[in-house]
């Protein structure tokens, strides 16, 4: 049904934009407008590591689009290439890794064509990154003020005093009490949550257009995680900074992100609005991720488990990378599935895409759990 609609709708929007041409006619004008004000538009990102044993395709054809102020949750298991995607956007991939892309447009420029020197100016000013372990990002031998003032003065010609004032302002923004005093301490004086706040503050110092956060709350307690998610959500809303939140925990980003992208073996297998991906997941891998979250609702039952482990990216067999672990796999999966748009903005790469048995039963009984509301999901997820 949807495909039919798409085919009919494809004609008028063809001229407008090539990327969004599968969108139904009703949203086509909006889609055309959207294409021009994209902050980040990456197509065909491939980061391959040319090792002695062969080519490791850590990221293999990833497309990303992000508008200002939008939060994208990039979800995947370890080894799915989600962190390398983030590093590639920052051009932080060392030899033997090579970054290639059809184009990587960011704020009107193509990142792929920038020289290392230009990139260096961009990093920390327009593009910033928050890493998982704040102890690794902060220099243990320098006081917090030294590190923050340095970051301000590296990118703009301001006085040391103004830089310090800016540092205090940003520390206050991320919820650090008495920021002026905290500036004078060394990182080891701070708790893990405070350290991560300082790392976030450093990333925000120069008002970047895009922040890439690589599992910034994984090492933190739930209470501190809640505080950081709260601050981040507030900051994105207030400053219009776009955010890519990389995580392996679907539950963490489901309440935070506007859109989700699920990665598997270096590819995006499903992407769409967060409510769509969580409430009406179409890819069997996403079904598995959702159903394998333990909760009070699953108590006493066997958890759904995705069999096996992530495959080695060294020589992936052709076709769908998930076929060996998939409960819907058939002979058709030996060919590469294309990324299809199943709903407006909701793309799935699977030959057997469709709702999981749980989600389908929810749709049949509308009372059981409505999708799109502010509620938590009934059944497996919550």
């Amino acid at each position: 049904m949807n495909r039919l609609l798409n085919l009919v709708a494809a004609q008028p929007s063809m001229a407008g934009c090539a990327l969004e041409n599968a969108a139904p006619a009703s949203v086509a004008p909006e889609a055309a407008a959207r294409d021009t004000d994209l902050l980040l538009d990456v197509k065909g990102l491939r980061t391959w590591f040319h090792t002695r044993d062969g080519i490791v395709k850590a990221v293999d054809g990833v497309d990303l689009q992000l508008r200002p102020g939008e939060i994208l949750g990039l979800v995947g298991e370890s080894g799915s290439g989600k962190s390398i995607t983030g590093f590639s956007l920052m051009r932080l991939v060392d030899h033997p890794g090579r970054i290639q892309a059809e184009y990587m447009r960011f704020n009107g420029r193509d990142l792929a064509t920038l020289s290392d020197k230009e990139y260096r100016r961009l990093r920390g000013r327009e593009l910033a990154m928050i890493f998982q372990d704040p102890m690794m990002t902060l220099n243990p031998t320098l006081r917090v003020d030294t590190q923050m003032i340095e970051a301000v003065m590296a990118h703009s010609k301001v006085s040391r005093k103004a830089a310090r004032a800016r540092a205090i302002e940003v520390l206050g923004m991320v919820g650090i009490p008495s920021p002026a005093e905290r500036l004078l301490v060394y990182p080891h004086h701070l708790s893990g949550g405070m350290r991560q706040r300082v790392a976030i503050a450093i990333a925000l110092l120069n008002e970047p257009r895009l922040v890439i956060a690589d599992e910034p709350t994984t090492a933190l307690d739930v209470t501190i995680q809640g505080q950081i998610l709260y601050e981040v959500q507030k900051l994105c809303r207030e400053t219009g900074t776009a955010l890519i939140w990389i995580t392996h925990d679907l539950a963490v980003v489901s309440g935070l992100a506007d859109r989700l992208a699920v990665m598997y073996a270096g590819r995006i297998v499903e992407t769409g609005p967060a409510a769509q991906v969580i409430g009406a997941a179409r890819h069997p891998y996403t079904h598995g991720l959702i159903a394998s979250i333990p909760s009070i609702g699953t108590r006493g039952h066997t958890l759904f488990q995705i069999p096996g482990a992530t495959p080695s990216l060294l020589d992936l067999p052709p076709g769908c990378p998930f076929q060996a672990r998939c409960y819907r796999a058939t002979a058709a999966c030996a060919r590469d599935p294309a990324l299809d748009e199943v709903e407006p903005g909701h793309w799935v790469s699977c030959w057997h895409q469709g709702l999981s048995a749980d989600a389908a039963s929810r749709v049949q009984e509308p009372g059981a759990g409505s999708v799109g509301g502010n509620g938590e999901l009934a059944g497996t997820g919550s």
Partner: protein
């Protein structure tokens, strides 16, 4: 062994840490008149009975003493106060064969599958060493024994001559599980055993825990900061804060009718799948330093319901729910005062809901 007797019980167990001080430090303190060096109370008086066959979940933020508690249960770390009893006998007084039996009967699975396995030992030795040393298995039967265990935990026995670095994180955690099972224990202390794993691998290991539990009639002492995991696996949940249990009850009670404001705040922070944007309303502040715990209720600086009384008086664990009419304050183990209640109180105790909070408590 009677099914009603706790297999392990903790009686006012404490663990203090003192910073070692040298001569200069001591003289300096004397001159400054600074008094005794500060003491960190990692565990400050915990009463708990672990029944055979149950799964107890211990939840708390990092620094609340939950791992220290687990280490004391296994005997890795001696308590500095109070008593741990194994099948009714104080562990500190056990000697010889009984002590050995306790040590073998209580095994542990660690958080980090990378650092808890010796990288220079092959899997067959990691799993098989202890049972051979303790005379449970003869050396020439070791290979078959290890192969059987590896099959149980879902590893291919063909990999028995490999080293830990040749396995993925989930597989390594399975090796850790097999190593703990090798001694045929009745209690397994899992210290954040699934925290380092991906969600899909975590589901596999959790399912493994549950199937092993039924097969070997295991008791789990499941330490985790992840409420989702704990709610899935536990029969009973204890919430720890700053070295003390602040609330304990059956899983359904804790997740359905939590009493303590800290538990309620934790539950609110629990990340759940949702289809709408979440309004974050986090609890303020961080765990206070155990070097200088707040007076009164340790949670009062972060508590939304703090009353003047909370600043001065530390609430004790008391019974919540229909039986709370008396508002009787008591420890977890009625056997302490009168042994006569121990026999009858257990069935009740297993579902008992206790909370350490002044809320709803008539001022005494």
């Amino acid at each position: 062994m009677s099914a009603k007797e706790p297999i392990l019980s903790l009686h006012d167990v404490r663990r203090d840490y003192r910073q070692p001080s040298d001569m200069i430090d001591r003289v300096g303190r004397l001159l400054r008149g600074a008094g005794k060096p500060p003491v960190v109370q990692a565990v400050a008086g915990v009463n708990l009975a672990v029944m055979p066959g149950e799964v107890i979940g211990i939840v708390g933020e990092s620094g609340c003493g939950k791992s220290t508690l687990g280490r004391m249960l296994t005997g890795i770390l001696p308590p500095t106060g109070g008593e741990i009893r194994y099948k009714g006998q104080p562990v500190s007084s056990l000697t010889g064969a009984v002590r050995r039996q306790y040590e073998l009967d209580v095994q542990m699975i660690f958080q980090d599958p990378y650092s808890s396995l010796n990288p220079r030992m092959r899997v067959i030795d990691i799993i098989g060493e202890a049972p051979v040393v303790h005379g449970k298995v003869r050396r020439r039967d070791m290979e078959g024994f290890v192969a059987g265990l590896m099959r149980k935990v879902g590893l291919d026995p063909a990999y028995r001559f490999r080293y830990p670095h040749q396995f993925s994180g989930g597989q390594r955690q399975r090796i850790g599980v097999a190593r703990a099972l090798a001694l045929n224990p009745s209690v397994i202390v899992c210290d954040e055993a699934v925290a380092a794993l991906d969600v899909s691998i975590q589901a596999q290991v959790l399912n493994l825990f549950m199937s092993l539990r039924h097969e070997f009639e295991l008791t789990y002492f499941f330490i985790s900061h992840n409420l989702g995991v704990v709610s899935h696996i536990s029969d009973r949940v204890a919430i720890m804060y700053l070295g003390r249990i602040v609330e304990i009850g059956s899983t359904d009670t804790i997740f359905g009718a939590a009493h303590h404001p800290y538990t309620q705040a934790l539950l609110k922070e629990l990340p759940v799948l949702r289809t709408g944007r979440r309004q974050f309303d986090p609890i303020k502040g961080e765990l206070p330093s155990p070097l200088d715990p707040p007076a009164g209720c340790p949670f009062h600086p972060r508590c939304p319901h703090a009353m003047p009384r909370c600043h001065t008086e530390r609430p004790l664990l008391r019974r919540i729910g229909p039986t709370a009419a008396g508002g009787r304050e008591q420890g977890l183990l009625p056997g302490e005062e009168g042994a006569s209640t121990a026999d009858t109180g257990i069935a009740e105790r297993e579902t008992e809901h206790l909370s350490a909070c002044h809320l709803g408590d008539a001022p005494s």
